[in-house]
Symmetry: C2
Subunit: 126 residues, 2 copies
């Protein structure tokens, strides 16, 4: 999992590349690190939310983005989609148990992020 650098008997350095592929951290980031993904899961933690409400809750994201992320989360099994047979049609999104299992460190991330010196966020813009 973690690569090491050591020196052999002759003092030559050697890199043990134990983290070639797949790296769990990178893999995990590709699941919940996408733009808006974390926010979407976060806003689903208290129960099902309808599409347009979700789009409003995740401030700044376009409906196109919300749709794409939701589709991805659905195929990954982190979110469940339910169509209510009403008129006009209503669609609910609900977090699954797998999705819920990510909320723990999403909260860790939130706390970490909030406690950072403010200028760090400023320095994070391209």
């Amino acid at each position: 999992m973690k690569a090491r650098v050591e020196s052999d008997a002759q003092g030559r350095r050697q890199v043990y590349e134990a983290c070639l592929e797949p790296c769990a951290i990178e893999q995990g980031m590709r699941i919940i690190g996408g733009k808006w993904t974390g926010s979407i899961l976060w806003h689903l933690q208290d129960g099902p939310v309808r599409f347009n409400d979700l789009a409003r809750m995740v401030g700044g994201a376009s409906k196109k983005m919300i749709t794409e992320r939701l589709r991805q989360l659905e195929t990954q099994g982190l979110v469940r989609r339910e169509v209510m047979a009403t008129a006009p049609v209503s669609v609910q999104y609900e977090i699954t148990e797998i999705g819920r299992s990510a909320l723990g460190f999403l909260d860790e991330l939130r706390k970490w992020s909030e406690e950072l010196p403010q200028d760090i966020h400023a320095a994070s813009r391209p």
Copy 2:
């Protein structure tokens, strides 16, 4: 921080958009969610590492990427760069206290990712 959907006395739904900007989760992701960023920090946790060693440890990343992420982490104060006056020149990268404070949930992320059903990772490719 978290948006809510409620119904008023007349039964009309209302979205309280408490998560407009800045959203701590998104902000945090923009710091450590970048490609290779997590891996870089992860491989610095046991002490300073030289540039080329780091490039080998973070499997799959080009030197260009490693450089870019390291520069970003440096301006954000998560990583410290030290040039050793040797010949040929040697450059060390060391994690700072702020950077170290991220290792906690990076490890949470790693554990979460490792315990996921394998096919989820497969479903995460575009």
